[in-house]
Amino acid sequence: MMFNTERKFNASCSVLADAIRAAWPVCIAYLPIGLAFGVLAQKAGLTPFEIGLMSVLVFAGSAQFIAVSMISSQAGVIPVILTTFMVNLRHFLMSSSMALYLGRIGSGKLSLLAYGITDESFAVNMSRFYGGNWDADRSLGVNHIANLAWVISTVIGGYFGRLIPAGAFGMDYAMIAMFISLLVLQIRGRVFLVTAIISGGLAVMLSLIIPGNFYIVAASISAAVIGTLLRKRS
């Protein structure tokens, strides 16, 4: 019996260690953005408690930024919620894509996992799923660690953000560098490279034409369709 619990404990330790190894770059990237969000939210009149509450309940960087700027310009409740919905629709695609790797997992765990799907945690988990040796528990670990980093950094931003000089240590580049790396890790063959190029090109064109961030969903869906058709040909 004791032996069993001990083994169980060791197993959870290794899950946690794997999750930390995968999640720390996400935490570094969240830090400057969380701080910046905290500063902005505080200027918009939110208390540190409200900032933390929003980070826990919503946990979506870009949506939170947009919401706060809408709050500052006295937008109503319904427009803010609708915009949040539009901004986060891309997670519908991510969640669908992740579902491929989560076969026989209880609905409770799935529901918990769904809460933590962000651009960053999704990409980190997917790159690990491809490598094999990754599962729902480790993904959950990554999501929770990232969530913790986000909540803490936004609240700290609300309290002390203004004391930190802008652009220190190249922090503003953390997110871009992370996306570059994640994109490189996703390219596992020619069709992936072609899809990435088409999607990037389409996204740029659409982002110049249509306001808002609808270009993300439109470009990714179209590029993935083109990629699938190309794959059938070859």
Binding site: L57, S96, S111, M126, A177, V184, A203, A223, V225
Partner: protein
């Protein structure tokens, strides 16, 4: 309002996981879903990198673009997420100090 934001954020993350993970999907849909991550990442990254302002306009001469070239090389060579993030930050910081 925050609760409403939470709900509309959670639903698109939750429903596909719940309904798709227990189903066997047609081969073509699977192939399409496999390409979604790479497509989304590229659609998120490239406009962020080479356009700026509101409304957006192209700008290829930003320091972000210059730093992206060595950062991509580091990513390809090391295939390490953490290493690439740190290298990108250091390069961007150096360029800023110059």
């Amino acid at each position: 309002m925050v609760i409403g934001m939470g709900v509309v954020t959670y639903l698109p993350r939750w429903l596909p996981l719940l309904f798709l993970s227990k189903r066997t999907l047609p081969h073509r849909i699977k192939e399409w879903l496999e390409l979604i991550p790479v497509a989304i990442l590229s659609a998120l990254l490239v406009p962020e990198l080479i356009t700026t302002g509101a409304p957006r306009h192209l700008d290829l001469l930003r320091p972000e673009v210059a730093v992206a070239v060595p950062t991509i090389l580091v990513a390809v060579k090391t295939r390490s997420l953490g290493g690439t993030v740190l290298a990108g930050m250091a390069l961007y910081w150096l360029l800023d100090l110059c």
